[in-house]
């Protein structure tokens, strides 16, 4: 694995002139990344607010699986097939395995239209061509990235998705008096752009996650001075409080069909996992153990809940089937495994794993039983998996500040999302939108 800190994507993102709270750096990519040249898309008109080809290159680069050719190394800038000369792209230093060209235009109803083509330089053939229309250039660019990624890897791209995260700033130094904090819940594109504050509070906000519809979200807020679970419509901003029990009201997770919410309540004595029918508000108690049971997440088929429990003496991850009540322990590696997250196929289990007092993100293959520690950063927490299972976004600590980072499921690609504000934490990757 080669350690590289490529400035390119950073500069490219800054060059757009748009404010983004998060800036993305690739800290580790794979050595055999596929080289690809994304030639600037032709456009005749006043200067555009966004450079589509740059955004596409940054997206593919961030996946770690592609090494986009720097623009300054391109020997020609074709935008039509008849301008493509393969020899321009076959050099060892200035070449690429794949070439993408495109043209931007306007539709009659004032939207943008992009026509783009993918070429295989080695085989000297056009692979495919597409077009798309849309009102927002960044969204259009992410769509192009999704299509190219799927064509080249066979896996659906997740560049058009969003994420939630929480920031916390100290308005007064801790310990110097009454706590003065500012919590903010953000929604942003997964590249950190288009960040928007959904809510702000002097009281803690935590555990945000998405409804399967990609529109509603749930989280815990202490704004009433006690923890309670809320659902918010990100389109309208409408918020609804769904719990107000004594004790813990935590770790809410929508079921895959969006009809139920798994959560942690301690109203009956100690932390137990419940499901709530969101239509009737009716609760069903799932766990019944004097140990801590928390951090439930649903299996993709909705038939079981995966959660953290210390019933075995230390926090480990368990599965409980909802119909039979049968419980199985899923992790045995070390003395601390918590905060489970499952890939959409239910095969891989990401978690927080403690090793020698240091907290890392680890993945267990539930079919083969293999266990892999993916990160080398410290105090890693809150893993959240992309809907295409390509990457896990998580929170970690850098220079005494909470930052977000991402790692591929195989651990080969590592990405850092340093923030300019406060402590960033609790990322939640949206479903496909």
């Amino acid at each position: 694995m080669i350690k590289r800190l490529l400035l390119m994507s950073w500069l490219a993102l800054c060059a757009t002139g748009l404010r983004a709270e998060l800036i993305i750096e690739i800290t580790e990519g794979i050595t055999d990344a596929t080289s690809i040249a994304i030639v600037p898309f032709a456009w005749s008109g006043p200067r555009l607010p966004e450079d589509v080809a740059t955004i596409v290159a940054a997206d593919l680069h961030r996946s770690g699986q592609f090494a986009p050719l720097e623009r300054s190394k391109m020997l020609s800038l074709p935008s039509r097939q008849d301008q493509v000369f393969y020899r321009d792209w076959q050099s060892k230093t200035n070449g690429a395995e794949y070439l993408v060209i495109g043209r931007l235009g306007r539709t009659d109803d004032g939207k943008y239209r992009v026509d783009y083509e993918l070429f295989d330089v080695f085989q000297q053939r056009k692979v495919n061509s597409w077009f798309a229309t849309g009102g927002d250039l960044r969204a259009l660019a992410h769509h192009v990235s999704d299509v190219l990624y799927q064509e080249l890897t066979g896996i659906r791209g997740a560049f058009s998705t969003k994420m939630l995260y929480v920031t916390m700033e100290y308005l007064q130094e801790p310990g110097a008096g009454p706590s003065k904090q500012r919590y903010r819940l953000y929604m942003a594109d997964v590249d950190g752009h288009n960040d928007r504050i959904l809510m702000e509070s002097s009281e803690p906000i935590l555990s945000p996650s998405w409804a399967p519809n990609g529109r509603h979200i749930t989280y815990v807020s202490f704004k009433s001075t006690r923890p309670a679970i809320y659902i918010r419509d990100t389109k309208t901003g409408a918020e609804k409080q769904i719990t107000n029990f004594r004790g813990l009201n935590g770790a809410p997770r929508f079921s895959p069909d969006g009809r139920q919410m798994a959560m942690v309540l301690s109203k009956d004595g100690n932390p137990e996992i419940y499901t709530m029918d969101l239509r009737s508000g009716k609760l069903r108690r799932i766990t019944n153990h004097y140990a801590i049971d928390t951090e439930p997440t649903w299996a993709p088929d909705g038939q079981s809940l995966i959660f953290t429990s210390e019933r075995g003496g230390s926090p480990q991850i368990y599965r409980q089937y909802l119909d039979s009540g049968k419980v199985e322990r899923l992790t045995f590696e070390g003395s601390y495994n918590a905060r489970p997250a499952l890939t959409p196929d239910g095969r891989f289990l990401a978690m927080v794993h403690r090793n020698n007092g240091v907290f890392h993100i680890a993945v267990k293959d539930l079919v083969r039983g293999t266990f892999n520690v993916l990160t080398r950063t410290q105090l890693d927490e809150s893993p959240s998996i992309a809907p295409n299972a390509s990457m896990i976004i998580y929170a970690t600590m850098e220079n005494n500040r909470g930052v977000l980072a991402a790692v591929s499921l195989d651990g080969r690609v590592k990405v850092k999302l340093p923030s300019r504000v406060g402590n960033v934490r609790e990322p939640a990757w949206s479903p496909y939108l």
Binding site: P174, L206, F222, G250, A251, I292, E295, R339, F359, R425
Partner: protein, 181 residues
Amino acid sequence: MPMSNRNFLFALIAVFAISACSSTPEDTTADDTMAADTTTDYSSPDDDVSGGAMGGDYGAQQEMTDPALQERVVYFDFDKANIRPDAVATLQAHAQYLSENPGAQLRVEGHADERGTREYNMALGERRAKAVASFLAANGASASQLEIISYGEERPVALGHDEAAWSQNRRSELNYTAEAP
């Protein structure tokens, strides 16, 4: 400056005040000011006067007298929620105060250090707050006087990412919401 240092300072001042008071003559009469009388009583934990013969006036004087009552934070070991021996005197003083002041209301906060996951730490913080509340109840406080809340790792008092900071953050805070001593 960590809060505990300040509290320690308060405690020092209180102790100083008490020792100054206890050197006053013993010939105070029952009609004398309660302040002088009770301060003397409280300088000695074994004093049988603390039985409560002075009724409702007790609370008002106790605030200036018992250094343990000025301490509003107790600490815990890593991943543990049992009451440590160094917390017992503080909690006994608060339990006694609560039993003697039925109007007093206490919010017991539980906190965790930053290690481990946030929701797990919420549960751990609650367990700590409950351990404190149970101790207070077992020592005379009424359950209706106690409210518990966990903040997990959300409200550290010490920044930093080492044991020095973590040991300050693994704590339970006693915050009176009515009739504070």
